[in-house]
């Protein structure tokens, strides 16, 4: 018994003693970060043999890396002119770099690259991400990767590395291998186009020579469904991107606004063959599975929740267009939006917690985000033209939309908080209805 007493006393003493130490100092509260982004230094890569082509790729690669990281909205890319150290001279590994030189230009992170082009087509690229402020030298290297491939793979290599960086920070690989489908009048008529997530590599997809609208990606990235007036009235077309094969859904009346079921070869769309426009569930080949909504009034623009259990859609059952949520299992419908008289084009976030939409309030059309429970309404754009058709990036960090802020309608991208709004691409004609592809992976 006595032993037990001693033992308990001893253990208690250990605990309480640390307690005393903990409260031994005063606390200063710091609540407002001065910078909202991570300052990162990306010097021009080091070229192994310094041939002309290597030097060119070294600059090109570093610039692409900077642009890609800047695109995320997470980083502040530091100006190279201020750098105190030239990694092309001292080398790209941790032993060679004097991190104090990078800390003093404000860099919390540093990316170095070493590349070699051995023959015409082989490119080897080593990329390293350092945390300049880690005390222990061995902890400074956060990511180190070597990529080898052809010269044309530079973009892919850089994007892969950016994915790694993003994963390290956010536990999500980002969207660097994704594409964006959109509608453009570049050819004179509204057609579906496609480009990389950053607006590069634009290609025309449809050539219907007619009005084509509302492109939507299947969740495996292999199919795009859209609406076209090719046959004089709106019909749904389902396109296999690889095989360039098109199926169409030509029920009587208007067949509009297709949206893919997550993880299934099925889609929801608005059809009016019964005389009233309702939302139906279709197979991927266009056969009707069942009628979902049943209500007088127009029901259009479905968007699935990521778990496939609910659909957000637009209905004018209460007068003006508002957003409603339909529960597929209980078949209940609840109204989501109450502010403003005109709310359309809902797009459910990949995380499932939010829905972005465009709404008119005070005579302006803007992008809003609302919780899928109806709480936390946030306006993301304001006083800058007409903003519509929001589409989430597959990681939920960015939203693409189209806006007339610079005159004609163009595609813009912003963070999910509405910051860092910028134009995605410049091309002839008007661009609308961006639709961000899922991560296709490879």
């Amino acid at each position: 018994m006595f032993k037990k007493f001693i033992l308990s006393c001893f253990i208690l003493f250990l605990f309480t003693n640390t307690g005393i130490c903990r409260t031994d100092y005063d606390y200063v509260n710091i609540s407002n970060p001065f910078l909202k982004k991570i300052p990162i230094a990306i010097p021009v890569f080091k070229a192994m043999y310094e041939t002309e082509i290597e030097n060119q790729i070294a600059t090109e690669g570093a610039n692409l890396l900077s642009d890609t990281l800047e695109f995320t909205g997470y980083f502040k890319i530091l100006n190279r002119e201020g750098f105190l150290e030239d990694i092309r001279k001292i080398g790209t590994t941790g032993q060679n770099i004097h991190f104090q030189n990078w800390i003093s230009v404000g860099a919390e992170m540093l990316v170095t690259g070493l590349l070699s082009v051995k023959d015409e087509n082989s490119l080897e690229l080593e990329l390293r991400l350092f945390d300049t402020l880690k005390v222990n030298d061995n902890d400074k290297l956060l990511i180190g990767k070597r990529y080898s491939g052809g010269k044309n793979d530079l973009r892919k290599m850089i994007h892969r590395f950016c994915s790694e960086i993003l994963f390290l920070l956010t536990k999500s690989y980002g969207y660097f291998d994704t594409k964006m489908a959109f509608i453009s009048t570049a050819s004179g008529k509204k057609e579906v186009y496609m480009c990389d997530f950053d607006g590069q590599n634009i290609e025309q997809i449809t050539r219907n020579n007619s009005i084509t609208i509302s492109p939507s990606w299947s969740s495996d990235g292999a199919w795009i469904a859209y609406t076209s007036y090719y046959k004089g009235k709106p019909d749904i077309y389902i396109l296999n991107l690889k095989e360039k094969r098109v199926t169409n859904v030509t029920e009587k009346g208007s067949n509009l606004s297709p949206a893919w079921f997550p993880g299934r070869f099925a889609l929801a769309a608005s059809m009016s063959f019964s005389g009233d426009s309702e939302i139906y569930l279709l197979t991927g080949t266009g056969k009707i599975i069942k009628k979902l909504t049943n209500n007088l009034g127009v029901d259009v623009s479905p968007s699935f929740s990521p778990d496939g259990k609910k659909i957000a859609f637009v209905s004018d059952r209460a007068g003006g267009p508002q957003i409603y949520i339909f529960d597929l299992s209980s078949e209940n419908t609840e109204r989501l939006t109450f502010q403003g008289k005109y709310n359309t084009s809902p797009n459910w976030s990949p995380k499932g917690d939010k829905i972005a939409y465009s709404g008119i309030d005070n005579g302006e059309m803007n992008i809003y985000v609302i919780g899928s429970d109806g709480k936390g309404l946030t306006q993301l754009t304001s006083s800058q033209g007409k903003n519509e058709y929001p589409s989430w990036s597959p990681d939920g960090s960015l939203i693409a939309f189209n806006s007339t802020r610079e005159g004609i309608s163009r595609i813009y991208v912003m963070t999910a908080y509405g910051t860092d709004q910028r134009r995605l691409l410049t091309m002839p004609g008007e661009q609308t209805s961006p639709s961000w592809s899922p991560r296709v992976g490879d």
Partner: protein, 318 residues
């Protein structure tokens, strides 16, 4: 011995013997009370015997400070904005000599300028038959300690100036924006008021590198320390880069870091008192501390170091 070990285990696992368990519980309760009482007395004794140590959380003080204490304290907080850019030249010196080759001291100094002006000469991979001076140009980098240090300094100093200006302009612009913006307003107000007080009482003087100078007799230690902590908070906040966007929703998060500040302002030690559970927030706070160059401790502060807790609570964006 063996018995004791088993009983020890019972303390933490389910004890089958209820009597011994409840006895332990009672004992532990008694010990708790005794220890708390002890702590209380020790703490009281400590506070009364040592110099008047400040009231706990300075957050409140940041805003209400100018009104409350005697406030005859000389401050010049602004010059600090120049600091982070200036000092860091010290460390490269240490790291430089790592890769040592052959010593060729006398020639090295002559060739230094050559290296700087010929960025094309790439030593590491091109083993071309270049003329002697170029070959030598390899050397300075891999020389024994002293010459290379100069090399670095020569290279960096001029750039440093331009950078300084740029960074400064940048910083000032940002500061102004920030200051007129939301949160630091309070801080800025406090600083402005303090300044006014200083100019009114005419006591401000002598301040080295952003540290607190020794004003005349007026300032008590408590005021000094409040001010000092305000400076620290400001300096670290200035270096804190944190994006809620990356952290996800972080409104409820808090990370507590304790720093041990040596008399010259150097940070002797850093540790986490409480992590937030969000690695990115923890890292960002840690980086902010490591980037910061802190003013030296006030002279009136006689202890060998100051342990100061920093509580980072991002509350910014929507």
């Amino acid at each position: 011995m063996r018995e004791v070990t088993y009983e020890h285990i019972y303390l933490f696992s389910q004890a089958p013997d209820m009597r011994s368990w409840s006895a332990t519980f009672v004992l532990s309760a008694i010990c708790h009370i005794a220890l708390f009482a002890l702590c209380f007395f020790i703490n009281n004794y400590w506070q009364s015997s040592s110099n008047n140590i400040l009231p706990g959380v300075i957050d409140v003080t940041l805003i209400s400070m100018p009104g409350s204490p005697g406030g005859k304290t000389p401050v010049k907080p602004e010059p600090k904005s120049e600091l982070p850019v200036e000092k860091p030249m010290d460390k490269p010196k240490i790291e430089e000599p790592k890769t040592v080759e052959q010593p060729k001291q006398p020639e090295v100094k002559k060739t230094e300028p050559v290296i700087i002006e010929k960025p094309k000469v790439q030593p590491e991979h091109k083993k071309l038959p270049t003329p002697p001076p170029d070959a030598v140009s390899l050397a300075p980098k891999k020389e024994p300690p002293k010459p290379p240090v100069k090399d670095v300094q020569e290279k960096t100093q001029p750039k440093d100036d331009s950078l300084d200006k740029k960074a400064l302009d940048d910083a000032i612009a940002k500061l102004q924006k920030k200051v007129t913006g939301s949160r630091p307003q309070a801080l800025n107000n406090a600083i402005a008021k303090l300044k006014r007080q200083v100019s009114e009482t005419g006591e401000g003087e002598g301040e080295g590198t952003g540290g607190i100078g020794n004003g005349s007799g007026g300032g008590r230690l408590a005021d000094r320390m409040d001010l000092y902590k305000l400076q620290i908070a400001y300096e670290i906040q200035k270096n804190w880069a944190f994006s809620e966007h990356i952290a996800g929703s972080s409104s409820e998060l808090e990370v507590r870091i304790v720093i041990k500040i040596m008399p010259d302002g150097k940070i002797g030690d850093v540790w986490f008192d409480k992590k937030s559970g969000n690695t990115y927030l923890d890292d960002s706070a840690y980086r902010a501390v490591m980037k910061s160059i802190l003013p030296s401790l006030p002279e009136e502060y006689t202890k060998q170091f100051l342990n100061l807790g920093l509580s980072f609570t991002p509350s910014g964006l929507k």
